[in-house]
Symmetry: C2
Subunit: 334 residues, 2 copies
């Protein structure tokens, strides 16, 4: 029996620019009717004109498919109330990469002082703040340490919707219920894998991503949220295309999961007897949290085994070579 | 002023076979007068004839340098008292890779039941047991979990000298003092680096090794042992040559440190104001623990800056491109 998803959404994806954008955007647009497209381009999408241009380039790349690109603005600490107000109607949110936050969470919070005026404006304008929440501490602990920063922001700005992006730890999972205004996205790879898939055997660069995959205990905490049908979690793939050469010779971080997302999610939810919760995870929760009205389009998965190809163009997808049980209807044959 | 080391020893190194052996053995023999050469060759060095042949091939590879290869026998659980007794005089010890030990340490110990008859013989013959102490659990915890196995062995065989190879965790460091018959080797990379050097930024395959590098807290525990001049620790590099291709495309684990060992150790000990303890760490402790009588040869380091070359043949060394302050006298110019 087919599995029909109503207007599935990918709430965190990297589509890049130019040729790469044109190559990868269709994978996302085929499986999702909308996606939160990350603004860490070159240059970053940190002004209204760049927002309009990037949004247009994504629309062009997906062609005829009904698809909404949601592009959050790349955070600048000199964003003004006037600038944000002027683009309010076409602005989805603001994405913060707190690169300067140190291992010491007190210091981290102190450093956040200079960004707080902007957070105050975002709260007033009811614009969500999306955060890559890692300190610059030990990689296995960066997200755990950052929870203190999340706590500070959520407490200081109680009406600001705060989205913890791609959570990967017990600590972030447990923190989710502490504040009403805190939400989270979860990737396929953090939900299903651990650091052992990266380096438990020979090193596998195609599972290497940031935040790094964590322990079985961390993964299980994410799975528990999903199994509980937690209303504050949303699917966000963090799919990130890098060429095989970049993965192998430059150590690029990121998993290209776009072509396998819904098939792998369906398999995970089916294996855990949760298929009735997939719709909420891949769309309904996000629509409610973000108050979205995405294009109405069903995406249908057929129970038909296929093999993930070794490469899409120059990119090795996650789970290359795997036999998957669900196939997106009308997906191209390999 | 030069730094002179009397008969330095590398108590854990992989010299491989054939062309690779001939290429890498001189790096070790130039800096050390003896080395514990791992028996995980193809086939493994698990019988007397293979022990003799491998020892001879190492001697041949190092040429005229006075150098003793100490080759422990690869553990077989069908080793007999007769077989071990017959080779006792030329046997250095036995190396155990407990591949079947599970994450559950109780089960792990239970599985050790079938190896205990051999451990009993080793204890009787006063042959040291060298152990790669990792369970098959989560990679960040494998050694921590294995400490229960070390504890079981050390308790059951109180006269067996048990060497924890390449320790990498707080737990192993703290365990060192629990039993008189437990000792440890420490590598350069576990002493100086953390998992962040592997994947804190872009992935760096040349710091990828097993056991994986751990946290700053783990590294600091090893440094504390060294700073305390702990008498039960020995230097063992675990230098392992893999071609750049194997590192990048096969995900091979192991750091090729042989060309930089004494210069880097000298730098670390100097930076920590410990130069007077280097001799014990790189030779005296091992001679006492193993009751060795190695060749008498001084290795001299000159305070002369040099740059680690990007490659030695097809192999990228750890710290390629680094400027090191100490240079081994008579070492070839790059």
């Amino acid at each position: 029996m087919n599995l029909t998803l109503n207007s599935p959404l990918d709430m965190h994806v990297h589509l890049r620019q130019d040729d790469m954008l044109r190559f990868v955007a269709p994978f996302t647009a085929q499986q999702f009717v909308g996606a939160v497209c990350m603004p860490n381009t070159l240059p970053p999408v940190d002004r209204a004109d760049r927002l309009d241009a990037y949004t247009a380039s994504i629309r062009k790349a997906v062609g005829d498919l009904s698809f909404d690109p949601y592009v959050p603005l790349f955070f600048r600490d000199d964003l003004t109330r006037e600038e944000l107000t002027a683009m309010r109607d076409r602005l989805f949110g603001v994405k913060l990469y707190p690169a300067g936050v140190t291992t010491n969470s007190d210091a981290g919070v102190a450093e956040l002082g200079k960004i707080e005026p902007v957070l105050d404006i975002l709260q007033d304008l009811d614009l969500p703040l999306l955060v890559h929440g890692e300190t610059n501490g030990y990689s296995h602990d960066r997200e755990r340490e950052f929870v203190a920063v999340y706590d500070h922001i959520a407490t200081t700005f109680p009406r600001l919707r705060l989205i913890m992006e791609h959570i990967s730890t017990v600590e972030a999972a447990e923190f989710l219920d502490k504040h009403d205004n805190v939400f989270a996205t979860i990737t396929l790879h953090h939900l299903c894998h651990t650091l052992d898939d990266v380096l438990g055997g020979p090193f596998n660069p195609f599972y290497f991503c940031k935040p790094i995959l964590k322990s079985p205990r961390d993964r299980d905490a994410l799975q528990s949220l999903v199994k509980a049908g937690h209303p504050k979690i949303m699917f966000g793939s963090d799919s990130a295309p890098h060429t095989e050469v970049a993965k192998r010779t430059e150590g690029a971080a990121g998993c290209f999961t776009a072509p396998v997302l819904l098939p792998c999610l369906a398999e995970f939810f089916e294996d855990h007897d949760l298929l009735d919760q997939l719709q909420a995870f891949v769309s309904d929760n996000a629509q409610r949290i973000y108050r979205l009205d995405p294009p109405r389009r069903d995406v249908v998965l057929e129970p038909r085994t296929w093999t993930v190809p070794p490469r899409y163009g120059s990119i090795v997808p996650m789970n290359a070579g795997a036999h998957l049980r669900w196939k997106v209807q009308n997906a191209p044959e390999e």
